[in-house]
């Protein structure tokens, strides 16, 4: 494909808008309105009234549920997206270059939704602001202070990475971009000169290094530590949680990237831009990550059923009687078998729709596992004061919680629909401009 044709293909969504796009936009805007209605309802009634999520202060019960599960899930998704893009830059894996931009945008949107899930779980958004205001005091004992710190850190780095990488591109193709967003482009390219290109590349390289190094420190560090350092919750406590959670997060992240890139490929007929072999490579990595997730699950169960301490035994026993747990196991096993069939016999088994279906199954499975992990850990507290606070807790997500959680997925869809019309979704080479 000649460079000009390639540019035309990538800029096409920015220069033309189809009826199908508007139809999708309307659907997602309606979804957003429904989300806002549900959120307003929760804000007015109070979290406890509409979800039954208790708190450790007065009402007992299980204080974390689907929202915090959703938070962990979104964070995991976010860390994989930009990691692919950073790997393209640092390790020179040029074959993934066509999906780098989509992955970056996914990271920014997913992180925003991770933060939003915390807002949903806390109830009032102004409490988050208080946590920031009192950060030097709250950081000593509040998991949320850590959450806010690392999400802000990662979001700021991701946004900076995305914006810096866009500068040269937008300056070069400015005359072909929609005039309606001119003010935004002016802000993005403020003070741009071609002499900065080389240094910006170097700045981006270091940013990518930092982002890659932060993936195990955050998805395999701070986020698991919010749980695994608390000795009172038997299912959480332990040093293996970091490695297990990082594996799960990367699994759901890769699944997310596959789904989003497949949608873009289908929507704009980019089969020659985002080629089959990219999906095959992703499928191979996904297969081994999902296999590792099974391996960690096996460790959890064996530790829990073989002469475990009382609470861990009780918890694992309860887990094994839970249909959700077996649903997760089935999701993992079916996915791994299907993925290895795809790798081994691509001619017979590999197809992008099938890969997207498996990715969707894996995404839902990981979400299910995260929510189970959080709730089960809270149902069997080991040590006072937690044991005195709620001797027995039970939890199942209400319709409203599902509504709000699915609303965050709708918001990400809306974000992508908007981004498609504002920036090129595949990186273009500014040097190629005639």
């Amino acid at each position: 494909m000649s460079t000009d044709v390639f540019e035309d293909r990538i800029l096409y969504p920015l220069e033309h808008t189809s009826k199908r796009y508007y139809a999708l936009l309307v659907i997602f805007l309606l979804g957003t309105v429904l989300f806002l209605i549900a959120w307003a309802y929760q804000l007015n009634a109070g979290v406890w009234a509409v979800t039954g999520i208790g708190d450790w202060g007065i009402s007992g019960g299980v204080p974390w549920g689907l929202y915090i599960g959703g938070f962990v899930w979104w964070v995991g998704l976010a860390h994989g997206g930009i990691a692919i893009s950073a790997a393209v830059r640092v390790i020179d894996i040029d074959r993934f270059a066509p999906i780098a931009r989509v992955s970056e945008v996914l990271t920014v949107l997913a992180l925003s939704m991770a933060a939003f899930n915390i807002v949903l779980s806390m109830g009032r958004p102004d409490r988050i602001f208080n946590t920031i205001l009192w950060w030097p005091a709250t950081v000593h004992h509040s998991p949320l202070a850590w959450d806010i710190a690392v999400i802000t850190l990662y979001l700021v780095l991701s946004l900076t990475y995305l914006c810096l990488s866009l500068r040269a591109e937008i300056a070069a193709f400015r005359d072909r971009l929609p005039t309606v967003f001119s003010p935004l482009y002016s802000v993005l390219t403020i003070g741009y000169s071609r002499s900065e290109d080389e240094k910006i590349e170097q700045i981006l390289w270091w940013l990518a290094v930092a982002i890659l190094a932060l993936v195990p420190l955050l998805s395999g560090g701070v986020v698991p530590w919010l749980f695994s350092l608390i000795a009172a919750q038997p299912a959480w406590y332990g040093s293996a949680a970091g490695a297990a959670m990082l594996t799960e997060s990367l699994t759901s992240a890769l699944a997310g990237v596959i789904i989003i890139t497949a949608i873009f490929r289908f929507a704009y007929d980019w089969g020659d831009v985002i080629e089959d072999r990219i999906f095959r490579d992703l499928a191979t990595v996904l297969a081994f990550l999902a296999l590792a997730t099974i391996w960690f699950t096996m460790h959890d169960i064996l530790t829990g059923v073989y002469t475990a301490p009382t609470n861990i035994g009780a918890l694992t026993g309860a887990m094994l009687e839970l249909p959700f747990f077996w649903l997760a196991v089935a999701g993992l096993v079916v996915s791994v078998v299907a993925l290895f069939l795809m790798i081994g016999w691509p001619d017979r088994f590999f197809s992008i729709p099938a890969l997207v279906a498996i990715s969707a199954i894996l995404s839902v499975t990981i979400l299910n596992k995260k929510v189970m992990f959080i709730v089960e850990g809270l149902m069997f507290p080991t040590a006072p004061p937690l044991t005195n606070l709620y001797p027995s807790g039970s939890y199942s997500p209400t319709l409203l919680e599902w509504w709000l959680f699915i609303g965050t997925i709708v918001l990400v869809g809306l974000g992508f629909l908007v981004a498609t019309k504002v920036i090129p979704m595949v990186e273009l080479d500014p040097e190629e401009v005639n």
């Binding site: 307003a40 009032r124 950081v139 000593h140 270091w206």
Partner: protein
Amino acid sequence: MAHETIHLGLYVIFGIIMLPVYVMILGWLIGKPRNYRAVAMAFGYIVGFIILIIAGLLVVGLVTSVLTPY
């Protein structure tokens, strides 16, 4: 809650978690090509986004505090 001592968590955050960021900033400043204007701009983006996020939270928090009955 007052805390007299510096907690382990602070060492973890500023000593370990932030290490990649320190290395990145060093790389920006020391690495070739030298161009402090571009580095200043990258810092500008970072500071700008931090302000944007906190200001956004403040606005959303204030609006909801006004709208909710509590």
